[in-house]
Symmetry: C2
Subunit: 418 residues, 2 copies
């Protein structure tokens, strides 16, 4: 895409009402627009990142056997009364219409997915099944202040699995641990992300979180660096340490962000709706459930927190809005023509390229925009780079490198050949 | 996909609480699940249709130069007060948090998109620009009764364009008329859909709607069949007839569904936010706007209303959940093996195929499921079809045909070769 056509622009000044680095960079870069605390709109560059994260998650959920659906935001009050959460959940938004009828704005979807499955599950032959969606959620956060990390409105992938036995559930749950690791590896934060023991809440002894180590994290985890086992501060006690064979003095404390979680729901939500199946012996049993969440905006924000530097964002290749940021410097006709050729050649080769073809800007302004926007590779066409054409032509530099090097167009194209 | 793995099932009985054909077939087929009046969740088959419609729309909006964004559902009350719609719009949902702060649930996004553009538009050089999103909307419909045609929660594509002059706006508006025709052609209802003159509401003399003729429509249009010009009943008067060079007695009345609309917004929403630009002479002017909507769920419902028969849905090829529905009949091992071969060959050729591999069902049950689900092509492998292998093997029949014919696997594959 030509940057001259992109309707957003970068800005130098930090937004006055944001304290978090992720929101600062994402707003300054024109990735998102803040509507109010905890509510953001995605602008073209931000939506491209979101879509890439979404595709990684979708591919991995499909590989794990998940069937994609899309549930509603409006949820019947009756369903929430059945599970006791209409009054039992503090952060539930309730909406009335002019006739006074109330509905919930979905913060999660057990109250919807279980009645859906009840239409289709009657026998053990219908199980196991796993369904998931990528959808907008609402949660009443009165003090949303961490940018994309904690929203009042946010996009989540939530998967729900349904099983005939605890054993079958556990097999799937173990598989999902690996699936989640793959997702975070592909998104570029695998090396900072640990499967973490956490409290299971009221219905299960433990749950598992995926925690990404970064200074901005609101959570605290204790990591055994040798084994890679981590536990959330909330479960740091002698009993848990003994169970996990960990020694307290070997654990290192880190601030971290919860980028995913997986839960054993047992029959907590299937029972109120009598979601049951007939087993091989003709006996009726309640279905066992698990759930598996990843916040997409939060993942985006975490990547920015964990991988940026002073100058801006450093997107991992797999989720960068574009694979390469091409810059033309100066107003020299030969430079502009050569940059155009490079742009068209990259497009033709199927490379996603943001082309800073804007005129009237200094090299310094273009470089600092490129650093802020954070494409993994920068390519510059300038009077200097084209002076030894046809052998040279383009100066390339990774976002993480200090110094670039001159390459030919063919050499540049070769980088993107699989 | 193997139908034995699909978690949804068809059902014979019509849902008791639905009066519209689109909801009846979509629920019976397991495309959607009704959560409450006017609120539906999309199940795997329905989501596939939705995604195909979405892709058609996205491709055409991108071709028209639209930049995709994704705006929030929560919208600040302040913004709605600025345009006078906080109290002026009856069907606006308002939500309070526990601190009593109110926000709007977006039924449309002028109040969000204009402030976003205000960050980036200062000069005539920044214009024109067009942005769009595909996103969930909320509208307080107290009597939602037309299935997917009129929802309290529904997915829309809404595009907003921004211009320096009425002339520039009109050029874009005319282009969008053609873009919309292309969308409805591609979605399979172009032959039933007419550009229709309608009232422009309070801020513009006329607007244009795209109306699809079908008996279930809530609108009434008058069509001049020779010219293809249509007008909404609300503007059927002598002045308009004269202006459009139409004769009242040549017009044919039809029931129809509004599947899209395009509006001249002038400065109605840019003015309250002072969205302005500096022109070539250094003078400040208010930006002119247009908006362009298509409801995706409504389009899906309209296709079902317009193209189904007594037995079920007839999906156009471009938006069918699968290109072909493959059925194996009976429990004969040779049949099941041959059907498996056909399935794997179609998958390998990149064909989207729903494979009814279920056992224990009669041929009649499978045929009626195939008719209800409505894939454009049905392929049957049965003891009869494979009896003259290798020259035969598969009986194919279009959803719209009465009689099928026997083909070889190679002949079947050839149908899908581009």
């Amino acid at each position: 895409m030509r940057q001259s056509k992109l309707f957003t622009k970068t800005r130098k000044e930090s937004p006055a009402d944001e304290v978090s680095k992720n929101a600062e960079f994402l707003i300054r870069g024109g990735f998102v627009h803040k509507e109010m605390a905890g509510v953001y709109s995605y602008l073209p560059l931000g939506l491209r990142v979101l879509n890439k994260i979404e595709n990684i998650i979708r591919e991995e959920m499909n590989k794990a056997g998940g069937q994609e659906i899309l549930m509603s935001t409006f949820q019947p009050k009756d369903n929430w009364e059945k599970t006791g959460r209409w009054t039992g959940m503090d952060d539930l938004y309730k909406v009335s219409d002019s006739s006074g009828r109330e509905v919930a704005l979905g913060p999660t979807h057990e109250e919807i997915v279980v009645p859906i499955l009840k239409n289709y599950v009657t026998s053990y032959k219908d199980l196991p099944v796993a369904v998931y969606q990528i959808q907008n959620k609402f949660r009443m956060e009165l003090r949303a202040k961490s940018g994309m990390l904690r929203g009042r409105e946010f996009i989540m992938k939530d998967m729900y699995s349904f099983h005939t036995s605890q054993e079958d559930f556990e097999k799937f749950y173990e598989k999902m641990k690996e699936v989640y690791k793959t997702v975070f590896n592909r998104a570029g934060i695998g090396h900072l992300t640990y499967l973490t023991f956490a409290s299971g809440g009221t219905f299960s002894k433990y749950s598992h979180e995926f925690q990404t180590i970064t200074a901005a994290g609101e959570d605290t985890i204790y990591l055994d660096e040798t084994s890679g086992v981590a536990l959330n501060k909330e479960v740091l006690n002698d009993e848990v340490l003994a169970q996990l064979h960990l020694e307290r003095e070997k654990l290192v404390e880190h601030k971290s962000i919860e980028v995913g979680n997986i839960f054993d729901l047992k029959t907590k939500y299937s029972k109120p709706f009598d979601l049951s199946f007939t087993d091989e012996k003709g006996e009726k049993n309640i279905v066992l459930m698990g759930c598996y969440g990843i916040g997409l905006g939060r993942l985006m924000g975490t990547v920015v927190e964990a991988l940026s530097d002073d100058k801006g964002i450093i997107w991992p290749e797999a989720i960068a809005p574009f694979q390469i940021h091409l810059l033309s410097l100066g107003e020299d006709v030969a430079v502009l023509k050569e940059a155009d050729t490079v742009y068209e050649s990259l497009l033709k080769a199927g490379v996603e390229v943001l082309f800073d073809d804007r005129t009237g800007l200094s090299a310094g302004e273009k470089f600092s925009d490129a650093d802020l926007l954070g494409m993994p590779l920068r390519a510059v066409v300038s009077a200097r780079s084209i002076k030894d054409l046809p052998s040279g032509g383009i100066e390339i530099k990774k976002r993480t490198e200090e110094k670039g090097k001159i390459v030919t167009l063919d050499e540049l194209l070769k980088i993107f050949k699989k």
